[in-house]
Amino acid sequence: MQGVFSQVAVMGSSGMLLCAMIVLWRRGVAAYISAFMWQSVVLGALTAAVGYFGNDPQLYVVAVLLFGIKAVAIPKLLRRVSQRFTAGRESAPYVNTATSLVVSGLLVLLAYAAARPLEAVADAPTRAGMPLAMGLLFISLFIIISRKLAITQVIGFLMLENAIALLAVLATYGVPLIVELGVFLDALMGFLVMQIFLYDIHGTFSTTDVDVLERLKH
């Protein structure tokens, strides 16, 4: 049972990590949105699985909320935003695709090194997934700093959020429901604020490429 639990945790975390890598490999914003959606679906399923194996019915509620907000509502909003802006392609990121992929591999190795003390003190069967969650965190940050379109950066931020939720679920079987609700509200509000920013950037420069923000200096 414990073996299966730990296996499921690691599988789920790897799946989420791969979804983040799709953002580094593909160019179209539509693909990023589906990658985020699938990542959230996996996170929801993993949360439910942790609830099942860890005997914590509260986590089912969290899983349902996760699914509703991150896998349905936010992707829908993202799609609407990306349809409003015509240029839905990340044509020239700051770091090219092949290098980004290699960097992401190195970041995961770094996460393995960084999570070693964390793994040593944890005794939950899910601890094997923790380095992967850390890796996801690093990769999401890397997406935010290496991509040019504001919408990709928003997706990177949302993935960062997913990474933190994953780390919480793996390390402590989730935080209390009330905190979780607060986090969801925060994420949603943050996303809405960013959406307004996106519209403003697009309205001023008629592109969401953050490079053009340089022009504000003159």
Binding site: V10, W25, T97, L109, Y112, P131, L132
Partner: protein, 316 residues
Amino acid sequence: MFDVAGIAVEIGQALLSLALAPALVGFIRWLKARMQNRRGAPIWQPYAELRKLFRKDMVVSRQASWVFHLAPFVIFGSTIVVSLLVPVLVTPLPFNAVADLFAVVYLLLLGTAFLALAGLDTGSAFGGMGSSREMTIAAISEPAIALAILSLALAAGSTNLGEIAARTIARPSSALSPGHVMAFVALFIVMLAETGRLPVDNPATHLELTMIHEAMILEYSGPYLALVEWASWLKLFVFAMLAGNLFVPWGLATSLAPAALAVAFATTLVKLVVIAAGVAVLETRVAKLRLFRVPELLAVSFVLGLLAVASSFSLR
């Protein structure tokens, strides 16, 4: 353990690989045609192609040197040797002692290198272009495949292919470990790249701008062409067997009992059908990548291999 039965099974396995390889390619083509609403040639079409080519005369360029004549035999021979080393039906084979991960990877590379040399040899423009592309791809895909199998080797504690398969049979839960799954995806991508399948090279066309494998063998005709083609089909078969029998080794016989061999034969066929279906679906769904995107795809495979190694290392 050089017993007669073992050697017989070993040789039978190589002959079986040789016999099944064209059928595998024919099946993929047929399935692809069906999925694209075409009727498609029958599955045994590749056999007919081979028979036709072996009967034909050869036309050899006046500029061709001995490399051109040697290459088909080296390519065919090295691929057959690999098919002797990869577990197809039975896992502890008589030749198991040399069935090493690195031996397999570099024997495959030997064939690729000679194919590239043959492409350059006659001095035709297309051959050179194909060779340079093939070498670009081989240079990135070879470390990826080595990494992918290395992650299995780390989990099994041995780089021996038979040993890896035997360990996975003994510990079924390890087949779903993340390292295993990522290594499988990595190997699948490399398989597509190395055997000239769709996102990397289109096996169905001779379009000048995009062809890789076809460009290198453009100068070959008759029996030489048959040998080169057969070897490339055999290579696809070997990769399918690596993917099928190293990652999902159930059904593989661990003794030479006839019943176990029959089960192994049946499961091998099932695995081949599943892998062929996967390739056919993928080839129907995706378009060919631009050449400059190919290294990026192989970088994905490399990173997956790296992650697989990292996770098997930490879970050990």
